[in-house]
Symmetry: C2
């Protein structure tokens, strides 16, 4: 990558670029706004009379901590290549990519602004009746299609080698799998939560389970993950679902993506009145049903593995995925509560006592998911355990 | 790699090369012999008055099946880089590398002909009192030093990416983890073993366990393995041990190398009278003791993992390594009995009935190791199970 050619886009230069590329006529008047609310990128929304596009540019540092956390721009290339692969295997749920420039770390893609970020919608009480079905299909299709089973081990290894993503994995390894379990500087929580955090730091059984799950994340290369599939990475409406921002993509364990989606639904449920939690529970059960069904369908349709028909193999694999996912789910709930990166679902609860209670529940339920993951075998059981945590 | 520049060495051109490199004087008279007994390489032994070297060149196909199984020459580069890393972490047990040429797939290294191939020695009734200690140290040091624990996840991922070895992994995936469990063309066994082989092909529980172990081999990147650490890859004497031929090196599961060493000791034991098995049992217990002790020492001395001191983590990890190794051990015994690549320990038993019995035992004990791997927690237990298999 030629770093010297890197230059940050502005609202103006982003317009020049899309015109130069012929995506719009030179003469057309375009509006251009920076709309990024993430921490790692500029996102320009460029709109003409009849169409619009998104221009995304990776920043050479993480915005959340100023310029002090430098990041290479390779992640833009990873995101671009992940989007193209996800678009191949799950075209209905992936934004179209029109153009990419590796040196400038730019991807130009489909504008999805007719949709809403699902996290925001859920917080505002929206429901997306198809989101769980679509997301379950997205995860099953992108994971299965990039696994040894679909690709064969040789092609899979070659693809895996092009998705080495040490830098962004490092963020996850630190913020999800490590810091929340120690009195680390990156942690961030209100004083009222300190006793709960301290209890957690002293729970050596929880730490042992976390270490085991971290090892899985560090060493297990099942499939090309999205790597950051929370409800803030999903654009949705009543009828459509699009999964964005796969810059954390790498070859990791099968259970990771679905765990993050599920955990974020649970955290939204924590922010709601009990009478309004049912649709989220239904999504959690649905995403698992759909994932299992779709993974099974693909397994039977296209499988290079000689042991594919061995009695019990698929069932064992799905159970293994579920068990690891229950653990990853719990870790996501814990880190979003006391780690560096929070979720608005919990932070946005206005009443202080209610907010504290929701966060305490998030920690306790999360810890239970981690420690008892071997005991859970269905999404219904997870929902029941969650409900017990509300008592 | 510039394939057009590749040319097979001859005994003559190998001499020219070592002189050109200044390893010997131009005027010196050198003897040169091709001594390779492997399937994938030429090995020239070049000897002058006072010193000698080994010139190894990878062939662009596997000799065992003529030219019909083409292989890229990249494995010579992998072997060369693996030797250099193993030489860094376990210098006492690794041949010195003097020179390498990527285009010609050549590595020139220390001559070890004052030592014996351990398999041959064991077959001839030799013992190598230090082989288990040395091999245990070699495995613990090379594996630990290339793991996340020692290197940290970022550096480890970068190193892992330089050891993508799809082609040679494919050989292992086929010959160790797949073909012996099906009526595959590559299998090779005497008619007397057919009932045992068929029983094994119908054992769906064994196949399920094999599929699970294969998934581990396909997806688990703990450390840089040797990848083919049987007793034919070890040069030994009473006092020295050198591990050669790491062309199968790649990032795989911790338990793989030690399993292959152990399995090959067990197979040698099968070829012996009962009164002469004890030294092999002692080696098996020793290699595990040393591995555990050395891994533990390194873990405590140099560990980047925040959870390193978490109660029970190291113990859990060592138990996990043991369990997977018990499984890999069983698979190695099975594939060396009915798969494509046999061991001389078993094939060399002259009496037909005794040979058949030893092979039947190898299959039965191997299958037990695979299926009951979750129950074994110590090398002593493996030895007891082995002895039960001799009844």
């Amino acid at each position: 990558m030629n770093m010297s050619s890197y230059e940050s886009l502005t609202t103006g230069s982003a317009v020049s670029l899309v015109k130069k590329l012929g995506l719009f006529a030179e003469s057309e008047t375009l509006s251009s706004r920076e709309i990024g609310d993430g921490n790692l990128n500029y996102v320009f929304h460029i709109k003409g009379k009849e169409k619009s596009v998104i221009v995304k540019q990776a920043l050479p540092y993480a915005k959340v901590v100023g310029e002090s956390w430098p990041l290479t721009l390779e992640r833009a290339d990873i995101e671009n290549r992940a989007l193209r692969l996800q678009g191949k295997f799950a075209p209905d749920y992936t934004p179209k990519v029109y153009y990419s420039d590796k040196d400038l770390a730019i991807t130009i893609m489909e504008d999805l602004s007719h949709l809403e970020i699902a996290r925001t919608g859920f917080i505002n009480g929206e429901d997306y009746p198809l989101i769980a079905q679509h997301t379950g299909e997205f995860i099953a299709r992108t994971l299965y299609s990039t696994s040894d089973f679909a690709m064969g081990p040789q092609e899979k290894k070659k693809l895996q080698n092009t998705f080495c993503n040490p830098e962004l994995c490092d963020i996850t390894e630190g913020l999800v799998f490590t810091d929340p379990f120690f009195d680390a500087e990156t942690n961030d929580f209100e004083e009222g939560l300190r006793p709960d955090a301290e209890k957690l730091w002293q729970d050596s059984n929880l730490k042992l389970h976390t270490a085991q799950l971290k090892r899985l994340f560090l060493t297990s290369g099942d499939a090309l993950l999205h790597g950051d599939l929370h409800t803030g990475s999903i654009f949705a409406s009543e009828t459509e679902t699009k999964i964005i921002d796969p810059e954390f993509a790498f070859y990791g364990p099968f259970g990771f993506d679905i765990a993050h989606f599920t955990a974020n639904l649970f955290m939204n449920a924590l922010s709601r009145e009990d009478s309004r939690r049912e649709p989220l529970y239904a999504h959690i059960v649905t995403v698992w049903d759909v994932f299992n069904r779709e993974f099974t369908r693909l397994w039977k349709e296209n499988n290079t593995e000689a042991f594919a028909k061995t009695e019990g193999y698929l069932e064992w694999l799905l159970a293994d995925i579920f068990e690891q996912a229950a653990g990853f789910m719990g870790l996501e709930m814990i880190r979003r509560t006391i780690g560096l990166a929070h979720v608005k679902d919990l932070d946005g609860i206005e009443d202080e006592a209610a907010r504290l209670q929701a966060k305490q529940r998030s920690l306790a339920i999360g810890a239970r998911f981690v420690k008892e993951r071997h005991q859970f075998t269905s999404a219904d059981q997870l929902v029941s355990a969650f409900q017990e945590g509300l008592q």
